[in-house]
Subunit: 207 residues, 2 copies
DNA sequence: AATTTAATGTTGTCAGTGTCAACTTTAGAA
DNA sequence: TTCTAAAGTTGACACTGACAACATTAAATT
């Protein structure tokens, strides 16, 4: 509670400061070289101070990932705004926003998806944040179904397919494995890709 | 050249032995705790011996990843066999085999896809192996186009979409984020998913 | 207001890591 | 047979995550 000034013995909000510092370091250098001690140094605190706020390194990284999922959810929700629910563009806009999010914060995105190994059951807040961002997709599918533009299959399954696609694109792009130059060419690919997905989601059956 | 016995000073084929040991350790414990020294110990060699065969830790892991891509390619090629080129089942079979590969060797698969960060340009053999496994997909799409079951768009782009989907499914499944129980339910999901993809790939245009 | 207490931050330590440098052994070319 | 370069070893260094013991402080209790 106590709002303490920076240079007092007690730090004020060390927990959030550590998370912020970790995000900053990850954005600069990636995650493989990130050390708890480095984070502590950046905040100007002893190498063991983080252990008062996080059980271990994994717990700090889980908090960082959690924050990432919150950002991702907001990004997707923002992308949806202003686009009619009953249009194909809605899902396309979300997909493009999703991949752009990943490309804009490559290391942070990787961290969110298992670059470091979490015990998900141990970090329920992380699991919850991830679930909420997924729900943006599910709801969009549901709305599209109500509007009659998507087939009437299980919306969860359909959302999982969409999620797999954008996640795969994001990861492969980050790995530099898609061989599509960033910029206009990449956007063209994303649109092509979402067109294929949407067409698949629209159709009614028939193998 | 010289085929030396195990217990001589010179080891015989230390390079491959190190790769094998690394794969074994990764399969057992994952990659985050893997150390070069551990690998060396497993092979029964001093902690610095690996440096005669690999520039650094990254180089060893790149070799492990490369081997993984070769396996993946064989897996996909095998899955294709016996299934008519002009049938939708061909792509489905490859997709299912792909995801099953990932699920069967979770840590190895992750390693192949950037769980450790490679300088891809520095490890050209790895890039080459990855490219070859991707070509299985591209060729399947091309053959499907010749048979008239897929639209006549750029096969590379189409293959990238397919790859993104199966890669995304694999990663999300490994992260335990799909919430689909392994087993029959999961196979059902994979088939549903490939049906959506194939329908999208088949269609001719119309947003 | 004084005292206690629990939360927070620090120092010291440990085994383990990746990598460098210097040394030793060995296989095969000269 | 000698020489040399490849292959393996030993020793060192700075760094890491984590533990234990200690110090400081904010705030709850008296």
């Amino acid at each position: 509670m106590a709002l303490v000034t920076k240079n007092s013995y007690h730090h004020g909000d060390l927990r959030q400061n550590l998370i912020d510092a970790a995000i900053a370091l990850i954005s600069e250098e990636g995650i493989s070289d990130l050390s708890l001690r480095q984070v502590a140094r950046r905040v100007g605190v002893s190498h063991n101070a983080p252990y008062r706020h996080f059980e271990d390194k994994e717990a700090l990284l889980a908090a960082v990932a959690e924050q990432g999922f919150q950002c991702l959810r907001v990004t997707m929700e923002t992308a949806k705004q202003g686009i009619p629910i009953d249009s194909f563009q809605c899902l396309e806009a979300i997909g493009i926003a999703y991949v752009n999010f990943a490309l804009a914060q490559p290391f942070h995105y990787r961290l969110m998806f298992g670059d470091y190994r979490y015990n998900l059951s141990k970090h329920s807040a992380l699991a919850e944040a991830a679930q909420q961002s997924f729900m943006v997709l599910v709801n969009t599918i549901r709305e599209g179904q109500s509007a009659g533009i998507f087939r009437s299959a299980d919306p969860l399954s359909m959302a999982r397919v969409a999620w797999s696609l954008v996640h795969g694109q994001s990861m492969l792009a980050l790995d530099n494995r898609l061989q599509v130059k960033q910029g206009e060419e990449f956007v063209t690919f994303l649109k092509f890709s979402s067109q294929i997905l949407i067409q698949g989601l629209a159709g009614n059956s028939a193998t």
